[in-house]
Structure formats: structure tokens, C-alpha cells
Symmetry: C2
């Protein structure tokens, strides 16, 4: 067997631990110099492959690669660029395979969510047809936690931990102030389609915090919501609201679209938190505070979950090991063996079963009234936020690494995207 | 000398480390049972004294009190309640002293910012006149960092660390995505009058991040601001903006008031971040993300600065020790001996010099263009965010303590506030 090179790319929104997966891929490749040649990374994700902006990862020292494990964001750059369907844009897929051919790439490690699983699957199929077979392995990553088969997705556990901890801390703050000041605190979290991240805020209930969650899975009912908040404030003196950016009215309109307009009269997106906070103020008259965590939540490597970091690394490593076993068109997965004590192992799923399937929150994870999480949900979530995995610090800030990312000399003609 | 009791109260907005000061006060009092009797705490701050809702801190175990050191928020409750001037509401001051008399309280430890320093000063003066002298010691606390004489204020260092780290992490995220997606990230931080917290975001410049700061000290100039962002995006591909909630137009109007209205047409306060983000979008067309850290920043004990925790504790401890030396009407302070290596010691300031004086950011801490911080500012800030002081964790979340806070039997007639 001739020694092929490998290609790795990061896709979609980055996370606190996608670089830990990159680290797992690269360190494992480096352990097999007899089997795999160079490992190239795409500059800004798959776009880097299409435009032939390839990074030779061997330019980076072992220490630098090891530091990726504790560095958030996408070290090689990522992109929001979905390859169209094979029918609509076959030339992009063909271009990918030409690039792979030109650089003698036989392994394709694609690190992303649902869209990239689909791309990965198609590349594997088309490469066969084009007579240049490439082993395509999808390494899962998404804070949305919506990939099927795998118990959970790297990136989610750390966001969940960040939201649980931040909600706890802010709630302690409000509790201190409620007598004469703020009685309502609203935190807005990511998750346009699924309430996994919002659910994590619900864990503070176990620390005695009165919390109301607004899920995208539950149609917003203003009357019931105000009644629930009022009840909580009467009982506890304050209330914490966790609102998903995807929370919406029965007609599908996002809460964030409700009438908030900028200086130019444009409807302003984002900002479900102020909308909800004002709603309570108007109905009940209480002073409020609100926060929008936005990128802070998915980039918060300083508060990453140790399980999440470990799994992100293990899935990257497993991707390479599966490839070396001759596997193709698969995604390594997390298989939960037990929640308490937490035990898991690596499994695998064929990409044909992963592509285009979205895993939603099970209905039994949301309480009947729609404002909280059930014990089953807590049992699912706790292992995922388990353990701390602190980065090293320098001068009071984490010592994150920035890669050189020098681009390889090109071999093929220019290519125009789209 | 008869053995007097002591009274402790938390005042104003709480912080990640005000409980560390409480811990310093209580543990030090407990070391001197021969000198100080009971230590009472005010339920919800000074209101607890006025309404005679006193907490007997001896009901809490040593382990619980030790846990205050790593617990954010105000363990006994705080309040936003400013005593009026002596002329306008002498009865409140007199009530305080009656309460102290009724409970044989000879030491008053008041933990807060500028307003509480003033109250503390007046109590000390009036108690003399009323023939029931109380030793009044002010323990400094404010994320606003605006108390005079002391080099810095407990609470600020931890917020500064949180903002520096969060800005760094979110900037890494944006840098990864900028090629095809978000090019502008805006984070809104606390500080209505002074830009100390916003300044901390400027530290990311030393990690290669292009950052533009909007200070309350600098009148907002939209044209120059857009030009600076545009320049940064051209050079780096993205830009991070740190906007203080106090950033304002030349006429004094806050940016957050610029035309953002809720569903009912009310001008919406808070939310300078979306205003600024939309401004860049309208001028330059780039995709943006924005975050509002709000309470998350001042409650983030999980990311507290070790210097800050240490100083918060030391100032509480020093307050008691000064009282035992017979000092009155003073505030223990942090005196900086050297920035590098960082060396500091405890000093003290008479409350007459502290009350009603606000310390603003020195002009030489802001760069000439008004958008950045100078080396002098960095030299000031770095020691304050130095070191990590992690709380213990349980089930993936910090193990913060909640006090019993049982109220002592009342001895005096009811009192109506205000």
C-alpha cells in the first residue's frame, strides 16, 4: 500500500473544543509516519481545499499541536460554506477530488456538524465513482448537539457547562439584590432549532434557583409565562429566565423579532432576552437585568467540560484509527454505557445514517408545563458537564495558541467558488 | 474594656469577591473572642439594620464561612438603599445607632462603594455626638473601581479578568469565522461613568487581537469609529469592539438610547452592543455578533482573579484588625509597591478623604485616538487580573454556599423606611 497524505478541515461554527479534535487527529497521524504521509489542513475549512489553500501541519511543533487541545476556536479557520447538492454543483465535488489527487491525499477528515457529514458522505461516494477512492471520515462537532446516533456532540458539553455555571452565578447575584433592586434576570442562549443549550440552564434548579426556560420546542405562551414568573417571584423573591434564541410564538415568529427596531426602523434580530425582560417588566413592574452570552458561550475554553475535551480528542484520534483500519464513510461516535458512574466508549456510525438527520430533544426531557427539564434530562446532561479542564494561563489570561498557517505552493489552476 | 458586638453589612451591587471580604471579617472576628462578642450581619445590607433584621453569624460553621471565600454574590443579601443626608433623614441615622445600642454593637463594618463610605463616615460622626461611640470601618468593594486612595477596589480585578478572557475567547472565535461569516464582534461591558472595565478588554491587543474600545470618558464620534473599524477589518479581516454601557454621544445621550424601542415604543436602555453592531453593519455591511455580559461579568467567581480574592479577604481582615487597634472612621486600602513583580500591602485612609470622591480613569490610560489603552494602563491592569482562584466543583458546577440567614429576635419597635 502506497503511503497517502491526509486532509483535515474544520466546518461551521467553531467551539471551545474543535481544536481538541484537531489535536487528536494530528497527534494520531504523527504516530503513524509509516502509514500516513503529510497531514494538510484547509485554510478556513473546505474553502481552503477548493481554492487550494492548504496548510502543511508538519510545520507546527509537537508543543504547538498539543496546545490546540486547550485552545478554543478553529485553529486553521473554519467557514460557513455548504457545498450544494451533487446535481447542482458537481464541479465543486470534482474540484475537491482533483485537489486530493494533486496532493496525493487518500484520507479526508472533516470536522463538523450535519452539513459537513453530508459533504463527507458525498465525497466518499463520488471519489469511488471518479476512480480516485478517498477514505472519508467525519469527526463530529456541534454545540447544537443535533447529530444522530452519537450520544452527544463535542462542543455541546462545554457550552452546557458554561450556561449552567453562568446561570447559577447570575442567579446568586440576583438573589442578593432582589430585596430592593433586580428581581428578574434573563439570559439568552444559543440554539435556534433545539433547546439542548437552554436545557443546561435548567440544572441550576438543583441548586435551589427558581428558573423558567423558554425552549424552541415549546410554543411561547405569554400569559402562562408571566404567570409562572409571577409565581416564582412571589415564592422566592426573584426569578431567572433562560431563553433560547429560537424561542418563538405559535405562528413561528421568533420572540426576538417582536417589535424591537433599530434607529433605521429595521426589525432587529437577536435579543430575545430584552424582549422577554421588558414583557415581565410591563406585566409585573419588576426591575430586570438581561445578558446575551452569544459567542462567549461557545468560545469559553476557560470553563470547558473535562468530559467534552476528552471526547473531542478521542473522536479525532478514533477517526484516524478507523481510517487506518480501512474504514470509510463513517463517523466515530460517543456511546454511553452508564450515566452514573459516567462510562462511555467510542463507536461508529455509517455516514449514510448520519447525513441529513437532525436529533431533537426528546419530549420526555421537557416538563409537562414546558418551562423546565425533567430528571431524565438532568441524568443526560450531568455527565456532559463533568470535570474541569483548565487551560494554562500567562499574565492572567489563558495561553492560547495561534498557528502559523502558511499556505502550501499551489499545483492546480485557480478555481472560482459558487 | 467591655466586649462589644460587631455588625457587618454588604452594600450596593454585589461582586464575585465581596463574600471573600465577609469571610475575612468573620474569620478574623472569630480569632478574637476575647475582644469581640457576636458578629451580626444585616439581612439585605443596611436595610437589615434599620428594620432590625439581624443575622447571628455564629450560627454558621467554620466550614460554611470558609466557603464564602469562593462564593460570589452577597451571602447575607445586599441592597441599593442610600441613606439620605443627615439633614434630610436624621431619623435613619439615629435608628441605626439605636439598633447598635440595643444589640450592644460597638463595631460597624460596612462593605461597599462610595455611597456606603459616606454612610459609614456619618455613622461614626453621629454616634460620637449621640454619646454611643461606634467604630465605623469601611471595607472597600466595587467593580467600578472608583474609590479614591486605594490602588484598586475588590471586585474590579475579577470583572477585569472576566472581560479580558471573554474578549480574547470570542475574538479567537470571530477570527476563525471571518473569512465567510462574522467579521465584527461587539461585547458590552459595565461601567456607566468610568471605563475601567472596558479598558480590561483592551488587554487582548497584546495577544494580537484588533480591538476598538468605546469609553464613557470619550465622546462618541461615529465617523471616526467606523473608520477605525474599517481599517482594522481591512488589515486583520475582523474586529472586536468593547463598548462600555456608559458610552455616549457628545450631548451626553447614551448610545444605548439611540432609537432602539420595544414593542410598546419605549426607549430601551441597555443594549449599546446591538446599536454599535448595527451601526457598523449599516456603514460597512459586515455580518456581526454581539454579547451583553451584564451580571455574568460581576458574578463570575469561576474565573476570579487570585489577586482580587486575596485582596478582598485581606481588606476584610484588616478592617477588623484596625478596629481592634482602636481605629475609627477609616477604610483599609491596597497600596501598590511595585507592578512587576507585583507587590502590595495594606494601608488605610480616613473616611473623610474617601466619602464623596470618585476616582476616574487617568487621561494617560487612554490612547490619543480614544479607542485603546496605553502601556501605563496595561501595567496598572495586569497585576489585578493575575492568578486563578478556582472554586471547588460538585457535579460539574461550582460548589457555592448558601447561608441559613436566620433572623435574630427583635428588641425594638418596628421602623418604616424612607
Amino acid at each position: 500500500m502506497s503511503k497517502k497524505n491526509a486532509f483535515y478541515a474544520q466546518s461551521g461554527g467553531v467551539t471551545a473544543v474543535i481544536n481538541a479534535s484537531a489535536c487528536g487527529v494530528i497527534e494520531t497521524v504523527r504516530k503513524h509516519p509509516d502509514r500516513i504521509g503529510k497531514l494538510y489542513a484547509g485554510r478556513n475549512g473546505i474553502i481552503g481545499a477548493l481554492t487550494e489553500e492548504l496548510i502543511d501541519t508538519s510545520q507546527e511543533s509537537d508543543a504547538t499541536i498539543a496546545a490546540l487541545r486547550h485552545t478554543p476556536s478553529g485553529g486553521f479557520g473554519s467557514c460557513r460554506f455548504k457545498l450544494k447538492s451533487l446535481e447542482d454543483n458537481r464541479r465543486e465535488y470534482e474540484r475537491l477530488i482533483e485537489i486530493f489527487k494533486a496532493h496525493d491525499i487518500g484520507y479526508f477528515f472533516y470536522n463538523g456538524g450535519g452539513d459537513s457529514a453530508d459533504t463527507c458522505y458525498k465525497v466518499s461516494q463520488l471519489s469511488e465513482k471518479m476512480g480516485y477512492p478517498v477514505q472519508a471520515i467525519h469527526v463530529p462537532k456541534t454545540v447544537d448537539n443535533d447529530l444522530p446516533i452519537t450520544d452527544n456532540c463535542p462542543g455541546f458539553g462545554s457550552v452546557a457547562k458554561y450556561i449552567a455555571v453562568s446561570t447559577l452565578e447570575a442567579s446568586f447575584d440576583v438573589r442578593s439584590m432582589a430585596k430592593t433592586s433586580t428581581k428578574v434576570f434573563v439570559i439568552e442562549v444559543m440554539g435556534r432549532h433545539a433547546g439542548w443549550i437552554a436545557a443546561a440552564g435548567g440544572l441550576v434548579e438543583d441548586r435551589g434557583i427558581p428558573v423558567v426556560i423558554l425552549f424552541p420546542e415549546v410554543e411561547f405562551n405569554q400569559e402562562k409565562f408571566i404567570a409562572r414568573c409571577s409565581e416564582m417571584i412571589d415564592k422566592f423573591g426573584y426569578v431567572t429566565v433562560v431563553v433560547s434564541e429560537g424561542a418563538h410564538w405559535p405562528d413561528g415568529k421568533f420572540l426576538a423579532e417582536q417589535g424591537t427596531r433599530d434607529a433605521f426602523g429595521h426589525a432587529q434580530l437577536g435579543g430575545a432576552a430584552p424582549v422577554v425582560a421588558n414583557m415581565i417588566k410591563d406585566a409585573l413592574g419588576h426591575k430586570f437585568h438581561w445578558a446575551v452570552a452569544d459567542y462567549l458561550q461557545r468560545a469559553a475554553r476557560h470553563l470547558a467540560s473535562a468530559s467534552d475535551v476528552e471526547q473531542a480528542y478521542a473522536l479525532g484520534k478514533a477517526g484516524v484509527e478507523f481510517a487506518l483500519e480501512g474504514q470509510n464513510s463513517i463517523m466515530p461516535t460517543v456511546v454511553r454505557k452508564s450515566s452514573s458512574p459516567y462510562e462511555w466508549e467510542i463507536g461508529k456510525a455509517p455516514l449514510s445514517d448520519v447525513a441529513n438527520v437532525e436529533k431533537m430533544m426528546p419530549a420526555e426531557f421537557i416538563t409537562e408545563d414546558g418551562f423546565g427539564i425533567t430528571d431524565a434530562c438532568k441524568e443526560y446532561l450531568y455527565p456532559l458537564i463533568k470535570g474541569e479542564s483548565y487551560p494554562p494561563y500567562r499574565d492572567g489570561m489563558p495561553d492560547y495558541v495561534t498557528l502559523k498557517n502558511e499556505i502550501l505552493e499551489k499545483k492546480l489552476p485557480e478555481f472560482t467558488l459558487g
